[in-house]
């Protein structure tokens, strides 16, 4: 009995030892593997997915849990709205559209001869079905607006809105996937399906799936011909857990297309000539302030002079170099992009924020408002020190760096800043409930480059709530009747003169009130490897917004534009 056990133990040790030898033996054979296998051309895409993929290709998922290629690569909308540059929408399943005078009726010409990836024809009926499906299902209808689509002939669909709806255009035409009626009418609850066998009209279709990686292949029935047709045979999606792994993958050629912020990007590009990148700044990083005492905000930041002082006290050149590795671009105090939205910025003074600190101006603004410099170097008013706190998500290293630098920069202007590094949940919760003084966040674009979306989301009274309630997006609690009226005008007209007047009202108000203190426009870097495929977007040619994030329709445009090397 005992001897048997002895042998067992020794045996186990021997097995372990031999296993170790076998493992180390096999280690020598490990090497690089190329993205291409045999004669099929493949590009590998990293969408930022961490951990296992969960099989979900539901293009209608209201929580956005469909995998990256679902919207744009497998399913297509009627038109593509490129947020990376100003211009007309790109026709996809629609070919042209026209509004009636008061913006209540939208007539869309539908592309003919399109087939689903299973070979069946795609028709105007599918378009009508898809649009009405969203409008009639409260769980799918994230815009909250109703519309009725109907077919007037085989190539025309008319969409009726109950009220003026110019601003819904990019949502309806550019953000609603067209799905096959024959399949979706038998799905009882479109929010709860995972749609594991997606049938779409997009340039690629699903070939094989495992939780660690999946592969798309060219859709043989794709409507586009020539330049419009997909040219690379396969697209592989992989997951990686962190930026280090992504950097390694990019350098070793295991990833061809990704969209990660890599602080050492310039060195990587210098070392690897086959790599390229593009930067499509979109989101304006800003100090979000709980600005409105009328809705319950408290703290020194409720004083507009303090917000103005912070605006001038920032040394944005230092912030850009140290926090954004030099990749950010100057913001506009009008809170929209001075690149894409240049024409909508109504005053040349509003084009860019100051890039260096103007401490004297910051101090004079505070002193004019009744603040006096205390003995310890910080301003005091009514016996209270100018002491502000800012929330920032711990682990967002660029934002954490901004806050650390701002502490020093504000100190020179007599403003004390304390930084709270918190978890993302707590940070979101503080903003939504209004129980915060300042929070570092970004002003994001809407479904198109129309400034209406930034203004209505971040400034309108409709998108806010009292402190303690839940503010949807206007977390600064900014509320100004003139701005509300101007936003309403923007929603109800597409007359350029009226629009410009409304922009002017809004911009004059926010530059004065400064509920969000802009820092810079955050970089949005996409990296490409040109050794397996070429034709990627470049800095000067952003034919689509290139970041391969979930929900970005532009990825489909990028993937059908690139062509394999050597073919």
């Amino acid at each position: 009995m005992t001897t048997k056990k002895t042998r067992l133990l020794i045996g186990a040790a021997a097995v372990a030892a031999s296993a170790a030898i076998a493992l180390s033996g096999c280690s020598g054979s490990g090497g690089k593997n190329s993205g291409a296998a045999g004669g099929t051309s493949t590009v590998t895409l990293f969408s930022g997915q961490v951990g296992n993929f969960t099989e979900n290709f539901n293009p209608l998922s209201p929580t956005g849990s469909g995998l990256q290629p679902t919207n744009g690569v497998i399913y297509e909308p009627l038109f593509y709205y490129n947020k990376a540059k100003a211009g007309n929408p790109v026709p996809l399943l629609g070919t042209s559209f026209k509004w009636n005078g008061d913006g209540t009726e939208l007539t869309v010409k539908v592309r003919q001869g399109v087939k689903w990836s299973d070979g069946k024809p795609e028709t105007a009926d599918d378009v009508v079905y898809s649009l009405n499906l969203v409008s009639n299902n409260p769980a799918l209808n994230t815009s909250g607006q109703k519309w009725v689509a109907k077919k007037t002939d085989d190539s025309t669909v008319v969409i009726d809105f109950p009220a003026t709806a110019f601003t819904l255009e990019p949502q309806v035409l550019g953000n609603e996937p067209i799905v096959p009626e024959s399949i979706w009418k038998s799905i009882p609850d479109p929010t709860k399906t995972t749609n594991v066998k997606p049938v779409g009209t997009g340039p690629y279709m699903l070939k094989s799936f495992t939780p660690q990686s999946f592969v798309l292949e060219k859709n043989p029935n794709y409507w586009g011909k020539g330049d419009q047709a997909p040219k690379v045979d396969q697209v592989r999606y992989i997951s990686l857990s962190n930026a280090d792994a992504a950097t390694s993958a990019l350098q070793s050629g295991q990833v061809d297309y990704m969209g990660s912020f890599l602080p050492t990007l310039k060195q990587i590009m210098a070392q690897h000539k086959n790599l390229s990148y593009s930067n499509s700044p979109q989101a304006t990083t800003a100090l979000f302030t709980c600005s409105n005492p009328g809705l319950g905000c408290t703290g020194p930041q409720t004083d507009p002079a303090v917000r103005q002082a912070m605006y001038y006290a920032m040394d944005r050149t230092q912030l850009n170099n140290q926090a954004a590795a030099g990749f950010s671009t100057p913001a506009s105090p009008a809170l929209i992009l001075n690149t894409v939205n240049k024409d909508q910025i109504t005053n040349p003074d509003y084009l860019t924020v100051p890039q260096s600190a103007d401490v004297a101006k910051a101090k004079s603004l505070l002193e004019a408002d009744g603040w006096t410099l205390g003995s310890n170097g910080y301003y005091v008013k009514d016996g209270k020190e100018l002491d502000l706190s800012i929330n920032v998500v711990s682990g967002w290293t660029d934002y954490d760096t901004i806050c650390t630098l701002l502490q020093g920069q504000f100190k020179r202007a007599g403003i004390k800043l304390s930084v709270n590094q918190v978890a993302q949940n707590a940070w979101t919760q503080a903003e939504v409930s209004g129980k915060y003084q300042m929070s570092l966040n970004s002003i994001n674009m809407g479904p198109s480059s129309n400034p209406y979306f930034q203004y209505s989301q971040y400034l309108s009274s409709a998108a806010t709530a009292k402190v303690g309630g839940s503010a949807t997006t206007n977390v600064s609690r900014y509320s100004n009747p003139a701005v509300d009226a101007a936003i309403k005008t923007l929603a109800s007209t597409n007359d350029k003169t009226k629009e410009q007047a409304a922009y002017k009202t809004i911009q004059d108000a926010i530059v004065k009130d400064m509920p969000y203190v802009p820092v810079y426009v955050n970089s949005a870097l996409a990296e490409y490897n040109n050794s397996h495929a070429t034709g990627w977007p470049s800095q000067d040619n952003q034919y689509a917004f290139p970041l391969p994030w979930g929900g970005n329709w532009g990825v489909g445009i990028v993937l059908k534009t690139i062509r394999p090397v050597g073919k």
Binding site: G30, G31, V50, T63, S65, T193, Q424, V432
Partner: protein
């Protein structure tokens, strides 16, 4: 019999407590999942209006009702084996999501724990048998590896073994470009190749504890009278070492081993993060950062049940290995 009934009673109470704590803890965290989804949608350029919040609340359903109602639903669903629906991977079932990640973690962390135990205990046994020999010098080295912050050790190994000399891949569970999961030699070879580096870090960082514990127990056991008796009878040294000294000395390590097996399921969050390994650790990380209560509960439940199961197995096995524990 009474001994086993008591044990079973204890485990029933322990499971109930684990389930209840599972339910309560995620709800004490700040934030709610709808806010998280909305802030992500905003960042991705989706239109977010007050109606969006409504749409998502309708879509996610649940979450409503008092805590007592939620607790009742939770227990009832649990009895049906339904762990709920994940929010991160909505509308996938939590059980499916965990099921995808679990085999990777069990294979990697489980094998690494077993290897580490066998090597550590083996080395400890010899070090105790020949105390004062060169093997004793190994102890400070192994404990140093244990003391070094784990992520740092892992990053250094990645730098050396997959960047400087490119022997091992730095990320993933297998080579996704050339093979697919299945019982093929190619896949298993690939999985072993990809798992070697993470396993190595786990082994290096845990071997010291086993070795030190075993060595010291060995030294204590060797001074027992029955060892002297065995030597006096003229038994072979190898027999004295194995069946007289080691068998007794390994007992405390064995119970520690069983407990650490229970924790295998929890994965090693840091290992899986550093190596992009597709296991439970990453899943838990994603669940926590997205306020995905259902997924968190599911993962915690699997962890607590496996720890309890490991304890039960030890309790039962210990009685078999060491008859003294059965007598009262």
């Amino acid at each position: 019999m009474r001994f086993y009934l008591q044990k079973i009673g204890f485990y029933v109470v322990a499971i109930w407590a684990a389930i209840t704590i599972n339910f309560v803890i995620p709800r004490l965290m700040p934030g709610n999942p709808v806010d998280v989804i909305i802030s992500k949608m905003g960042a991705a350029g989706q239109t977010v209006t007050p109606q969006t919040r409504h749409a998502i609340e309708v879509a996610l359903g649940g979450g409503g009702g008092t805590w007592w109602q939620q607790y009742g639903d939770y227990i009832v669903n649990l009895l049906h084996g339904d762990l709920g629906t994940s929010l991160v991977d909505y509308p996938e079932k939590v059980s499916t999501v965990i099921g995808q990640a679990l085999p990777w973690t069990i294979a990697l962390v489980g094998l690494a724990t077993v290897i580490s135990f066998i090597i550590g205990v083996g080395l400890g046994m010899f070090a105790g048998w020949r105390r004062g020999s060169w093997l004793d010098n190994l102890i400070p080295v192994t404990t140093m590896f244990q003391a070094v912050p784990y992520f740092w050790l892992a990053l250094i190994l990645v730098l050396l073994l997959s960047r400087v000399v490119q022997w091992f891949p730095y990320a993933g569970g297998y080579d996704v470009a050339t093979t697919a999961p299945g019982f093929s030699l190619q896949f298993i070879g690939s999985a072993v190749h990809y798992g070697f580096l993470p396993a190595l870090t786990i082994v290096l960082s845990s071997i010291g504890g086993w070795m030190l514990g075993m060595r010291n127990m060995m030294v204590a056991t060797l001074s027992e009278d029955y060892i002297v008796t065995a030597e006096a009878k003229g038994l072979r040294p190898s027999r004295v070492r194995m069946t007289y000294a080691a068998r007794n000395a390994v007992l405390p390590s064995l119970s520690g081993f069983a407990i650490s097996l229970g924790f295998v399921v929890a994965g090693s969050i840091v290992t899986e993060q550093v190596f992009s390994y597709p296991g439970v650790g990453q899943l838990l990380f994603a669940a926590v950062s997205n306020n995905d209560y259902a997924l968190m509960q599911g993962v915690f439940l699997v962890i607590s049940l496996s720890v309890l199961a490991a304890n039960l197995v030890v309790d039962v096995l210990y009685g078999l290995i060491d008859p003294r524990t059965r007598a009262r």
